[in-house]
């Protein structure tokens, strides 16, 4: 069985990067079961169709505007996902990612199961800024929710005894979260 765990969003726009930061942390803290792939999808849109169409099951992390308290998590499953992404301003990536899902559908190869772990953002306008406090605090709970989803699919990940060192992270070249968020020189 193939399971794809996908984080989407733009790390350059503060809370927009939640999905990517969540999948990055997931990789650092958990070892995936066989057949489970982690992917930093960024804002790639149709470039992701290939991977989504190949997956039997799909788990997505994303920043989603439900109009709730910042940092609130919401897990949406199965048929609810396309329905939700069709709603106005549901996700910052709705057009892009909704298109990816319907493209997989059009090709006759949609994932059998889909789960979306969304987190309510606080600030999407802070160009170059870090994740805000409420969002950063929601990463671990989002990972716990992801562990539940994967366990339900029979592919529970195992918590690593020690987190992976930064050099083995999903994002390199100074865009891993710690390096990215370090205080900037003369910023502004």
């Amino acid at each position: 069985m193939t399971v794809l765990v996908l984080g989407i969003g733009n790390i350059l726009w503060a809370d927009e990067g939640f999905g990517v930061r969540a999948v990055e942390a997931f990789h650092r803290l958990y070892a995936m079961a066989d057949g489970v792939d982690l992917l930093d999808g960024g804002t790639q849109g149709l470039y992701l169709v290939n991977r989504v169409a190949e997956a039997e099951r799909l788990l997505v992390f994303d920043a989603i505007d439900y109009g709730l308290k910042p940092g609130t998590l919401k897990v949406v499953r199965g048929d609810e996902v396309p329905k939700f992404t069709g709603a106005k301003k549901m996700s910052l990536h709705q057009t892009g990612f909704q298109e990816v899902l319907s493209a997989a559908d059009l090709l006759g190869r949609p994932p059998r199961d889909i789960a979306l772990i969304g987190c309510q953002p606080l600030d999407l306008e802070d160009w170059g800024g870090p994740l805000t406090g409420p969002m950063a605090a929601s990463i671990e709970p989002a990972l716990a929710a992801a562990v539940d989803v994967l366990a339900g699919w029979g592919v529970a990940p195992a918590r690593r005894a020690d987190p992976l060192p930064p050099e083995n992270g999903l994002l390199a070249n100074d865009i891993d979260r710690a390096a990215y968020e370090r205080p900037r020189v003369d910023a502004g």
Partner: protein, 596 residues
């Protein structure tokens, strides 16, 4: 009130104002406002980007060798081309030469992006401006088959194939899951294709969707992964190990063969599907030759795809380099990206502050200090703008100008320059297409011409892929396995201060990154992107940019369903993916569309 701009366009903002505005964003906001006269002809156009901010805010103080990884995140569509431009800027600043193999591999990466972007842009965004998906449901599969077989040898063309496909489409539409087709103006009077042509185009939409995922495998081979392939200052990151059997990241014979086979398929798809479709669709829109804008007078291309490693001269670059002004096709001017008087960015009409806003700044000296304010004649509030005041600041996009001139960039600009240079590889396909369609050369300067240039360039790029793949393999067979030069990798080999510029031709036009390095760190970094050139607001002299110019004088069948606006904007392939709303004057939602 009517005025004439210095670059020769008549503007009149007296009539009804139509606003095409974004709701959400992926890579940025984009919004257009137009005034139409009593006959619904566009007489004034105001193009605004409401998101872009300077990348230097993020890059200042970081390691220049990592800049590509940040710039790759600016945009979700042209990731690789930003990365390539970035490593070229750093190499230019530090005087780093790359090996021949690295040049070939980078060209293959860039050409792959070009082919992928053009194909995806045409089928998944732009074709739907010409093709009515819902009309395809009423097509006769047998007649569709006859049409398809009359224009191409592509094997997927039987009546049964189109019947099955129509059935699938019907099921998809009936389930209410219109997905990518949801936002169309189906049934709009500006759609001209018969149902059979629509069905054929929808079939190819799906085939292109399936095929595009093969093309990007080339990025996985040479970039180590996709999305977000790896890049390297001094060369390319993947070593060559011809006899290797699947070592992670290494390029071996099996992978070279995989790339070669994808290139063959790409050439076939482009020549047997994309180009015949373009010609077939174009033949029904021969009288819709609006949208030329700046293309007949002012175009620019930096050039790209160097034949020889480290030689970025006009002679070495396979994509044309130069500027044409005032429609003088026999006077192609050379470009110097380091000259402080050539490329300059103005902010008179942009939401930024300069000490002296009557002057432009060369990107090496560029500053990005946001200053958001609405003009006195704007309507609405800062968070809910109903109508912009184009006499004041009205965009987060700066106004780049070449020696003070607004220019169009992109595939049509490249083809106009290549044509003017008399290069057969650009001129002959254009002449052939125009002859087949029975159109004069002037027809090239239009929305349709822009769309055609992109298709021709896709074919050109597919053959260049073959050329550089063969060149790479020949060089490897001759024993050269070098892919990176690390002589100046460590900062202790660098001068205390350095500056450089890197450029590429992104699918959507000329892209430049200007960098200043001080004490081993980035001191300033400016990216001037193609959509900034095309989508720029007015400059201090009042010259309008390519988007605004291209929208003028276009008649609209129904201003509340601005299909014609989307058609022309989409023809530029703007790098601003966003879902958009069409609003009436009082701000009420009328329809949702997708602009990218």
């Amino acid at each position: 009130m009517g005025i004439e701009t210095p670059n020769g366009f008549k503007l009149d903002n007296a009539g009804r104002r139509i606003v095409v505005d974004p709701v959400t964003r992926i890579e940025g906001h984009m919004r257009v406002e137009v005034n139409v006269d009593a006959d619904n002809v566009i007489r004034n156009a105001v193009s605004t980007g409401t998101m872009w901010r300077g990348i230097e805010v993020i890059l200042k103080g970081r390691d220049p060798r990592d800049a590509w990884a940040f710039t790759e995140r600016i945009c979700g569509v042209c990731t690789g081309t930003h990365a390539l431009t970035s490593v070229r800027a750093v190499e230019n600043a530090l005087g780093i030469d790359i090996p021949e193999n690295a040049n070939s591999i980078r060209n293959i990466m860039q050409l792959t992006l070009q082919v992928h972007d053009h194909l995806v842009h045409f089928y998944h965004l732009h074709a739907l401006d010409w093709v009515d998906v819902v009309s395809a449901l009423s097509a006769d599969p047998k007649a569709t088959s006859a049409l398809a077989q009359s224009i191409s040898d592509w094997p997927l063309s039987s009546p049964g194939y189109f019947r099955d496909l129509q059935g699938r489409l019907k099921k998809f539409v009936e389930s209410g899951q219109l997905g990518p087709f949801k936002n169309g103006y189906w049934g709009h009077a500006a759609y001209k294709l018969p149902p059979e042509a629509n069905l054929m185009a929808v079939a190819h939409y799906l085939e292109a969707l399936d095929f595009q995922k093969e093309i990007v495998k080339i990025h996985t081979v040479y970039g180590g992964k996709n999305p977000h392939p790896n890049w390297l200052v001094g060369g390319v990151p993947s070593p060559i190990n011809v006899d290797g059997t699947g070592a992670v990241g290494a390029i071996n014979m099996e992978r070279l063969n995989l790339v070669s086979s994808i290139i063959d398929q790409t050439i076939a798809f482009t020549e047997q599907v994309y180009l015949p479709d373009l010609k077939a669709i174009g033949s029904f829109y021969k009288d819709w030759l609006y949208g030329g804008g700046l293309s007949s007078t002012s175009v620019m291309s930096y050039g790209d795809i160097p034949e020889h490693a480290n030689d970025y001269s006009e002679a070495s670059l396979k994509l044309p380099r130069g500027v044409i002004l005032d429609g003088k096709l026999d006077d192609i001017q050379p470009i110097d990206l380091t000259d402080p008087d050539e490329v300059q960015e103005f902010v008179t009409h942009s939401w930024y502050k300069y000490p002296d806003e009557t002057r432009g700044l060369h990107p090496w000296d560029g500053v990005t200090e946001p200053h958001f304010e609405l003009g006195p004649n704007a309507r609405g509030t800062k968070t809910n703008i109903e109508a912009l005041d184009e006499a004041a600041k009205y965009s987060f996009i700066k106004s780049p100008r070449w020696k003070g001139h607004a220019v169009e960039v992109g595939p049509l600009a490249r083809y106009v320059i290549g044509y003017a240079q008399g290069k057969a590889e650009f001129k002959e396909p254009v002449d052939r297409l125009l002859t087949d369609l029975g159109l004069p050369l002037t027809a090239l300067f239009s929305t349709l011409g822009r769309t055609a240039a992109r298709a021709l360039e896709c074919q050109w790029a597919a053959h260049q892929l073959r050329y550089f793949q063969d060149k790479l393999v020949a060089n490897i067979k001759a024993g050269d396995l070098s892919t990176a030069n690390t002589d100046k990798w460590t900062p202790d080999t660098w001068p205390k201060e350095a500056k450089g510029v890197g450029f590429t031709e992104a699918p959507r036009g000329a892209l430049g990154h200007w960098i200043r390095i001080k004490d081993g760190k980035i001191d300033n970094y400016q990216a001037v992107v193609p959509t900034t050139w095309n989508g720029s607001p007015r400059d201090p002299a009042g010259n309008i940019g390519a988007f605004e110019a291209a929208l003028l004088d276009t008649p609209m069948a129904d201003p509340e369903k601005p299909l014609e606006i989307l058609r022309t904007l989409h023809s530029f392939d703007p790098c601003l993916a966003c879902s958009t709303h069409v609003m009436s004057e009082d701000g009420q939602d009328m329809a949702t569309v997708t602009v990218r």
